[in-house]
Amino acid sequence: MSDKFDVIIVGAGPSGLAAGYMLAKEGMDVIIVERGDHPGTKNVMGGVLYRQPTEEIIPKFWEKAPVERAIVEQRMWLVDKESVVTLGHRSKGFGTEPYNNFTVLRAKFDRWFAEQVVDAGALLITETVVEDFLYDGSRIVGVKTGREQGDIRANVIILAEGVNSLLAQKVGLQRDGINSSELAVAVKEIITLPKEKIEDRFNLEEGEGATIELVGDSTFGMMGTGFIYTNKDSLSVGCGVLVSQLVEHEGLNPNEILEHMKSHPAVKPLLQGGESNEYLAHMIPEGGYRAMPKLYRDNVLVVGDAAMLCNGIHREGSNMALTSGKFAAETVIAAHQRGDYSAGMLSEYQSKLEKSFVLKDLKKYQNVGVVMERNRHFFSFYPHAVNAALEEFLTVDSVPKKEKQQRIWNEVTSQRSKYEIIKDLYRGWRVMG
């Protein structure tokens, strides 16, 4: 192995692989260092992979990549203890080219993606942890790995290490000790189930997929969501909650939240007869725009989850990771042409993000996290109220409808005043609008 490269990329997730692919295609001398035995074996995602941002890296990837199902229906469930109010969208068009999004399993997808990157000319080394930086004075000139004689030198380093960004923290780009209200912990189970059963239960044609997001009692009213996604012959069933709220909820374990969600009368029949195949856990960066680290310094760039580029509200993360990896690569290519890897030159990366949906979206939602965290009733009271109201409305018991409506309103306002409800609606509209 030559010990000097143009670029070192730490981490073979979607952000690092996207950057690696673009750089290798341009003929740059690039090395990707991954700690897992294969790319993807340390990674977890719900996971919905969006077609358009992925295709910007690898055209028509779905023809060759191990994708699970093309999503044609996306549902939202407002969950109360024993009932659920559902909302959804289905479109036949999403089931045919060019598609909208797919479910993927990361251990399979990342591995495939990495093969494309290697074919394009990048060097990938696995089973290797990057532990620190190499310095020449105060200048970063490479990385130290856990291997013997494992120092690697390069002009520039792209940190694509994911949410637990030890290196970005070490180098002072991210704060050491990200606040626990800026992170969610998610657990997930893979439940195997025959194809036909999945298609029957979710009302799908062959190869089509569906997603369900659950809000409300499924996370015990904590800020967080649950999800059920269909794979080829398994379901990805999981939930995530804010770490800070979990800490407060003394004694509650993430697995108990997942088991609680699985036992809901609307969820249980979907999983019936399925067999658990794997249990996974991962964090999600929820801090958004306000918690973003500094994105670059001399010779270093941060991409993907390590840069907090994730939009929890729209469960978008992989697309931001891919896009940021692409922008980082473009910036590095320009820097290479000038032979200048200073912060000034690398700031182009930030400008690219600012002009794209990535920072526009994160900016737009920058207050949502704070508002939701302070207003827990968005995750407890409202899902409950909507369920209770519909239950009353749908119960036929010879009570005139007008009286029913009054009853519903009285019930709702006995728990939260009219003034508070109006305030909530306004707040919700302000931060989301």
């Binding site: 291997r147 912990v185 398994s234 003394e250 996974l280 964090m283």
Partner: protein, 92 residues
């Protein structure tokens, strides 16, 4: 299903040495709620009453990092397991 049953489904390559270290045992003694004992999805941490210390069953760690940020006193020295060791997801 219990966590133990679930961890049994997973593929691990356990190292001989723990990648999770408690920095200062005294801090744990006075840590009131000991969140590490309940927030960890793999129940890696348990309070040993007799020894008055936190035990870490690091072999089942899923490497999510939650304990590092949820520890009430930033008392966990969290490292990545050595290359090639730790959790190896089949699906992800």
């Amino acid at each position: 299903m219990t966590i133990e049953d679930k961890l049994f489904l997973n593929r691990f390559q356990a190292d001989k040495h723990s990648h999770l270290k408690i920095r200062d045992r005294d801090v744990c003694r006075s840590c009131e709620r000991k969140p590490c004992t309940y927030i960890c999805p793999a129940k890696v941490y348990a309070w040993d009453e007799k020894e008055e210390r936190i035990d870490t069953a690091y072999e089942g760690c899923l490497e999510c990092g939650t304990c590092r940020y949820g520890c009430a006193h930033d008392n966990i020295d969290w490292r990545n397991p050595r290359g090639g060791f730790g959790i190896m997801y089949k699906n992800g």
